[in-house]
Amino acid sequence: MSDHTAAPMAGDHAVDIDKHVRIYITVFVALMVLTIVTVTVSRFHLPVPIAVTIALIVATIKGSLVACYFMHLISEKKLIYAVLGLTGAFFLVLLAVPAITVHDGFWIH
């Protein structure tokens, strides 16, 4: 998709955009269905670890759909992937910080 950023288009490229528009609609429907799934599953009042796992899996699928298709990450340039890879690594470190605090004092003893 990033190939299309250079200029508004006509002809063959317009056909290409038509194809993408169909994908956007499909993704939209998928996101709506997954939203219903998220809310429905929460009504079962499952144990917290299972509920968290399911909710995060569904949210990750939804987030991936938005990132891949609406944000065009499915066909982006390498530099963007590099930036996001680095960001992802630091993001995981951030999320791991609370886990480290569970073992408070572990490194001292």
Partner: protein, 196 residues
């Protein structure tokens, strides 16, 4: 002097500068929200008890808001696709719908907040509400910021379409990337705060 690489791509990166700029900005945004998500995990796991979101928050309203924000992402990407097809008037319609969806989101959020305040549920009440108001408040500010940018491109900023349509299309794409990111954050906030 013209701003370089707004329309043509740099040979070394294969990208326009605007595209790199918005992605670097979004990377910083990931870290901002990441820090708050980490805080949420820390506060929740460190707490002896934690309320289910649906006992304190309005899930039906938040579900409607989720649908509204996802719809706005679709209209945003359709606005960009309209420019790619050289259909400016269609762009205006989709961009207008995106702004209206953002407005609807904030109005619904206002009703949610009002109900909380009316019940005396404030950020100082407990840790759950503190992190709830912080995360949703920051997200709401992002929606407001995105709406301001979108409104600029719908209104006065659209003049650029007449003189440099490619640059304008790229700008709308970059605004769209931010808007989709705001949608993406909500996709994680909704189950985390309201349903678990």
């Amino acid at each position: 002097m013209d701003i370089p690489y707004t329309v043509e791509v740099r040979r070394d990166t294969g990208l326009t500068n605007g595209k790199i700029g918005i992605w670097l900005f979004l990377a910083s945004e990931v870290m901002l929200f990441g820090a708050l998500f980490a805080s949420y995990i820390l506060i929740r796991t460190g707490s002896p008890s934690w309320p289910r979101g649906d006992t304190m928050l309005n899930v039906p309203l938040a579900t409607v808001n989720t649908i509204v924000l996802i719809s706005s992402s679709v209209t945003m990407v359709m606005a960009w696709a309209s420019l790619m097809r050289n259909r400016f008037e269609t762009f205006r319609i989709y961009m207008g719908l995106t702004i209206l969806c953002g407005l609807a989101f904030l109005v619904i959020k206002y009703f949610e907040y009002s109900a909380h305040f009316h019940e005396g549920a404030l950020p100082s009440t407990n840790n759950f509400l503190a992190i709830y108001f912080t995360l949703t408040g920051l997200h709401g500010l992002h929606v407001l910021g995105g709406m301001a940018v979108n409104a600029y491109f719908w209104g006065p900023g659209a003049k650029l379409w007449k003189t440099n349509p490619t640059w304008f299309t790229n700008r709308v794409e970059h605004a769209g990337l931010f808007w989709h990111f705001v949608d993406l954050v909500w996709i994680f906030l909704f189950p985390t705060l309201y349903l678990l």
